[in-house]
């Protein structure tokens, strides 16, 4: 059985999906289901006192999804820590997608702040899955701090650019001893397949599905793409060559002399 272990969770699906930006709860439900994901990310936000609604959380719990709360929207260590603790209080589980953002324009992580927050949260018992740049040094530091996985971005959040630097990702994969999950930047199915073919252990995405014209169909595409990429990785692809190699035998063609 080809399963992924993160902390003490064992997963058959390597696709992690977000729940933001869907048209409505019905579309959210249909897309998540079509994606086959077992782990689903959510954000922690103030209850809108005017129209409080816990429908999303209730649904995910009822359907037994593994909820992965994030600290999206946090731009400093303090807010990040408080948001993380609120998430744990709400859910009773220590799983956390750590994000400490650098600015709104790029939504790239703030590297020193992410490291600082990771250090504290690991000590507090969180199972930390940090969103990070594709910098191999930062990835290693996060691993050394005790993070349960590292989650380098493929490209800016919501950009749809795909894996912009496979070289850095390959260095991270070569060196990591924890799972490497590509987080952010996937645009279409082949992007997810490429990540898995490189040996990534999973892919996390939200906008690529929720922002597609048909999110439910795209969710299905992503499920198949992640599975295809993983199977291709395990199956061992053919080497790349400049010249051709025949697939049909060249001998035995009619008219040839023996």
């Amino acid at each position: 059985m080809d399963e992924l272990r993160i902390g003490d969770i064992t997963l058959a699906s390597r696709l992690f999906v977000g729940t933001g930006k869907y048209r409505d709860m019905e579309q959210t439900r249909a897309a998540i289901e079509a994606s086959g994901a077992q782990v689903v990310t959510v954000a922690v936000r103030r209850v809108d006192l005017a129209k409080k609604d816990a429908e999303l959380g209730r649904y995910l719990i009822e359907k037994k999804y593994t909820i992965l709360p994030n600290t999206a929207g946090c731009f400093d260590v303090e807010t990040t820590l408080r948001t993380a603790r609120l998430a744990r209080e709400m859910l009773g589980t220590p799983l956390l997608k750590l994000e400490v953002l650098g600015d709104e324009e790029t939504l790239f992580p703030d590297v020193p702040a992410t490291l600082e927050a990771a250090k504290i949260l690991v000590k507090e018992g969180f199972v930390v899955l940090p969103y990070t740049t594709d910098d191999p040094i930062t990835a290693r530091k996060l691993e050394d701090l005790g993070c349960a996985a590292v989650m380098p971005l493929a490209a800016p959040i919501g950009s749809g650019l795909g894996i912009r630097n496979p070289y850095n990702l390959e260095i991270i994969l070569t060196r990591a001893k924890v799972p490497v999950i590509v987080d952010a930047g996937v645009g279409t199915a082949s992007d997810a397949a490429i990540a898995m073919e490189m040996g990534c252990h999973g892919v996390l995405m939200n906008t690529a599905i929720a922002g597609a014209k048909d999110p439910v169909l795209m969710a299905s595409a992503m499920r198949k793409a992640v599975e295809a990429g993983r199977e291709a990785y395990r199956a061992g692809r053919i080497p790349r060559k400049l010249f051709a190699t025949a697939s049909s035998p060249l001998a035995g063609v009619i008219g040839s002399k023996q």
Partner: protein, 66 residues
Amino acid sequence: MQLEVNGEPKEIEAGATVRALLTSIGLGETLVAVERNGIIVPRKDHATTPLADGDRLEVVHFVGGG
């Protein structure tokens, strides 16, 4: 007494607990979490934690996010 809840002023009777606050807002206790003056109030303590005038509270839940 006067509280700040999620950045907005809120009036509540003196001596109210966290649970009372949640009830007054119309929230149950599942799927929300409460922070009082920067410190988590565990769910089991909601009923026994009195609020004080000037308390800053954060009441959060899950929303769609990625």
